[in-house]
């Protein structure tokens, strides 16, 4: 039961209206072929959970350009004028979350926690509608866990079983999202035999990865 799939077959699993976590930070560590294939298949009404929407024409920006996205839960859209334009026009729902809080909410979702208590955002608009907890005189926001139907992640290397390692700053949200979605699709730069990644170098254990996509293979 190989996990290896074509990009096309993997993206066909994603229905319109799905919630997707997508790794990457300004395009670095965003799975490139999965982005192109989402556009090619013309998915609709997606909810995207990601650090940012990069720039027009780059990474997640391609999904925005193509009008596939209904809602974004993200920390930053300042580099994507198109995202801002659609938001102001009321055509795109944007939920802004502090970056560290977004990371912890995703991790909590993947770790079976209900959420975390963070000091970030207390007393700001980021606290609107949130519960607070006081511990030893300090106020914390209750930030709830978040999960997704799919995680689309990029990795440097996968072995045949889906053990993943990442390279430098293209790691970012990818290992967190691998924990927090029902179906995890990984797009590695290379796929190597089992045993080629030493146990301590595995950042995402194979049990979290459902599909490993290769570009151009005909399944």
């Amino acid at each position: 039961m190989s996990k290896v799939s074509t990009v096309e077959a993997a993206v066909q699993k994603i229905p319109d209206g799905a919630t997707l976590m997508i790794g990457g930070f300004m395009g670095a560590g965003t799975p490139p072929n999965l982005m192109d294939e989402l556009v090619r298949q013309g998915k609709k009404d997606l909810t995207i959970i990601a650090n940012d929407t990069a720039r027009p024409g780059t990474g997640i920006g391609k999904l925005i350009d193509a009008g596939l996205v209904k809602k974004v839960i993200t920390s930053h859209i300042g580099t994507n004028a198109q995202t801002q334009k659609l938001m102001i026009a009321g055509e795109l729902d944007v939920d802004l979350v502090p970056q560290g809080t977004l990371a912890e909410r995703i991790r909590a979702g993947g770790a079976g926690l209900g959420g975390v208590l963070t000091p970030t955002g207390v007393g700001t608009t980021a606290a609107d509608g949130k519960h607070t907890v006081e511990i030893d005189g300090r106020i914390f926001l209750v930030e709830q866990a978040i999960k997704a139907d799919f995680a689309l992640i990029a990795a440097r290397t996968s072995d045949y079983s889906g053990n993943l390692r990442y390279l430098l700053t293209s790691r970012n949200f990818n290992p967190l999202m691998a924990l927090a979605a029902d179906l995890v699709i990984a797009e590695p730069d290379e796929i190597v035999p089992i045993g080629c990644i030493e146990p301590d170098a595995v950042a995402t254990p194979h049990v979290l990865v459902d599909m490993i996509v290769v570009k151009g293979a005909d399944a």
Partner: protein, 218 residues
């Protein structure tokens, strides 16, 4: 020396050997240019690395090693990479010694607004709320005014980045320290008078002792 260079040079003097420092995108990033190579200072980029350097050669530009703006960077020997949860554990957990960020407004309470202008510009807070909440020291590096309007004001009118009082404000005109009593004018730029700084500032500036002159040596 232009405004930004003045600010960057002065901020650089605040960084000490052994510090872990985050520099915001834009003006704050210039600070690294005014530090000696053997400064013993480590720079963290919040997208997941400690030990970032300038890109050593344009031919090395790639997508696996970038700064928080997505621009290619390099790394020094001894650099370490990690995921976004670890990056913000370092930031929020008090392990980051200094963050240097830009600002839209700072008020008499020392509170910073730097992430949105309602109805005009909503870039999102990115890592700014975590950085201002969690860093041991928060230095705001910004121009003193914007198109002639004061940015150091009585009370922030823009949405706050954090309720935490920042530790220092460095502009091309002055160095100001927010305290419990209010904003203390510590230093003014060479060739400026105290009255000129006051005129460009809406907030009340306290002077428990006479302000010094900003040292801009590298």
């Amino acid at each position: 020396m232009n405004e930004k260079e003045i600010i960057a040079r002065r901020v650089a003097q605040e960084l000490k050997h052994g510090d872990l420092v985050n520099l915001g995108i834009g003006l704050p990033t210039m600070v690294a240019s005014y530090l000696p190579a053997d400064s013993g200072i480590s720079f963290q980029s919040e997208n997941g690395i400690i030990g970032m350097s300038a890109l050593p050669d344009p031919a090395l530009a790639g997508t696996n090693l970038t700064d928080a703006g997505g621009m290619p960077i390099g790394a020094f020997p001894g650099a370490c990479a990690f995921d976004s949860a670890m990056s913000f554990a370092l930031i929020r957990g008090g392990h980051l010694d200094v963050t240097v960020l830009g600002g839209l407004q700072v008020d008499e309470g020392g509170q910073l607004a730097n992430w949105m202008v309602p109805g005009k510009m909503v870039p999102g807070m990115g890592g700014a709320m975590d950085l201002v909440t969690g860093a041991k020291r928060v230095i705001v590096a910004m121009t003193h005014t914007a198109k002639g309007a004061a940015k150091i004001i009585k009370k922030c009118t823009l949405p706050l980045t954090s309720v935490r009082r920042v530790d220092l404000v460095v502009t091309e005109m002055a160095v100001i320290k927010p305290t419990e009593e209010g904003l203390v004018l510590l230093e003014i730029a060479p060739a400026l008078t105290v009255d000129q700084v006051i005129a460009a500032t809406e907030a009340t500036l306290l002077m428990p002792k006479a302000p010094g002159v900003m040292n801009l040596a590298v």
